[in-house]
């Protein structure tokens, strides 16, 4: 019933994402000039930062869907929360992989326990645990309830984690490294960044909607099996 419009939206987002990613690749590797102090490796920035923003957005969506699920008990919201967490973990992994690649040549270290990095890592751990919990529970309303509780608890934890690491940092000063990411981007760099942001955002929306559609279709197929009085095949 409501699968059709979602499917269409997923397709539109996918097409836009396609175009935007091609454009972003061109701009990052051809159009935008090399950054003077950091060199070519700075180009990671155009994928690293949008991925970080999108992963935070994904976890926020997981939180909202979890709250809404506990209020309405709609299966669709359970699916949305799970899909957002899955895709959020993917983008968060991208952040955690590209981060050290960028950091090593610039800061001389792969990793530092500063508030932003640490919070991202803790966030990744929380949502991997969330996905693991879902994997270890039998499907059904029970799983949806339990996962929603963890989805809410995990997200509420984020600001407290960030704050606690900031406090911790004041006790253990680390080399000052961050120059503030967006501070004084040149106009062509800012434009490239914006295109990348749109591309990654569209990719996220396309993946999220596609994931939700797949899950809804599976429900639908099982429903049809039931109507036809046939046992649905086992699914791994």
């Amino acid at each position: 019933m409501r699968i059709e419009p979602l499917h269409t939206a997923a397709n539109v987002a996918a097409v836009v994402a396609w175009g935007a990613i091609l454009g972003a690749l061109y701009m990052v590797f051809q159009y935008v000039p090399m950054e003077r102090t950091m060199g070519n490796v700075q180009r990671i920035f155009y994928f690293h930062v949008p991925s970080a923003m999108v992963s935070f957005l994904a976890f926020f969506i997981c939180f909202l869907a979890s709250v809404a699920y506990l209020i309405t008990r709609r299966r669709g919201l359970d699916i949305a929360a799970a899909a957002a967490a899955e895709i959020g973990v993917v983008f968060c992994s991208v952040v955690l992989i590209t981060g050290p690649i960028w950091a090593k040549p610039i800061w001389g270290i792969w990793w530092t326990w500063d508030a932003r990095l640490t919070t991202t890592l803790v966030l990744w751990l929380i949502y991997v645990a969330y996905l693991m919990l879902r994997a270890y529970l039998p499907e059904g309303a029970r799983r949806a309830n339990l996962a929603a509780v963890v989805g809410i608890l995990g997200f509420l934890d984020v600001p407290i984690v960030y704050m606690s690491i900031r406090w911790w940092r004041t006790q253990h000063p680390a080399p000052v490294i961050m120059g503030g990411k967006g501070s004084g981007l040149a106009p062509d760099m800012a434009l490239t960044f914006r295109v990348c942001m749109v591309a990654i955002l569209c990719l996220f929306v396309a993946l999220l909607l596609r994931r939700i559609v797949v899950e809804l279709l599976q429900d639908e197929v099982d429903h049809l099996y039931r109507e036809a009085d046939v046992a649905p095949p086992e699914r791994g």
């Binding site: 919990l133 608890l153 995990g154």
Partner: protein
Amino acid sequence: MVFLHQLFTIFMKDLRLEWRTREAMSAMLLFALLVLVIFNFAFNPDRELVLLIGPGILWVAFTFAGVLGLNRAFAAEQENGCLAGVLLTPMDRGAIYLGKWLANLLFTLVAEAILLPFFVLFFNLELTHEIPLLLLVCLLGTIGFTAVGTLLAAISANTRLREVMLPVLLFPIIVPVIVGAVESTGLILNQQTEGLAGFIRMLALYDVIFLVTSTLLFDFVLEE
């Protein structure tokens, strides 16, 4: 009144069960003692190093032992479907959470009280007037991780591999507790006061937020 009576009934039942079997306590104590001993071999710390890494060792011992206790807490409820039996009675769901949380808190605090002297002994620390502050930090830190831990133990009790699931869910969420407790303990052992109030306030804030949230969310954990 009825709520407190129900809470107390659950709490006393857990106390009685633990008194009978002493399963949680003995596991927690032995495990935490092992942690202290192993870390001693791993670092072979001198006096200066103890002041640096001692707080971390202590809280690793506390939280790992706490997880053992929390895992036990819902094992007895799963046996024979007792939790369902409790849910059949006209009782408040929040009272179940708070009763079980208080029992867990008490077990963990008792274990910590027994472990602290060993910690002082093993690492040759000299504590006098720092003790009240140290106890306060232990109390606040333990409230924090048992409050979330009781809720998450109820969740992981439903899964296969619940012994693994609980720490995987719990540890990322209690990062602020670990940071706060380890830092405060370190400051206290080094007889510094700068920044201490901030960490203690943070621990207290965490305790309040997660105790309230967990009480509210516990209803959904029990529902099928």
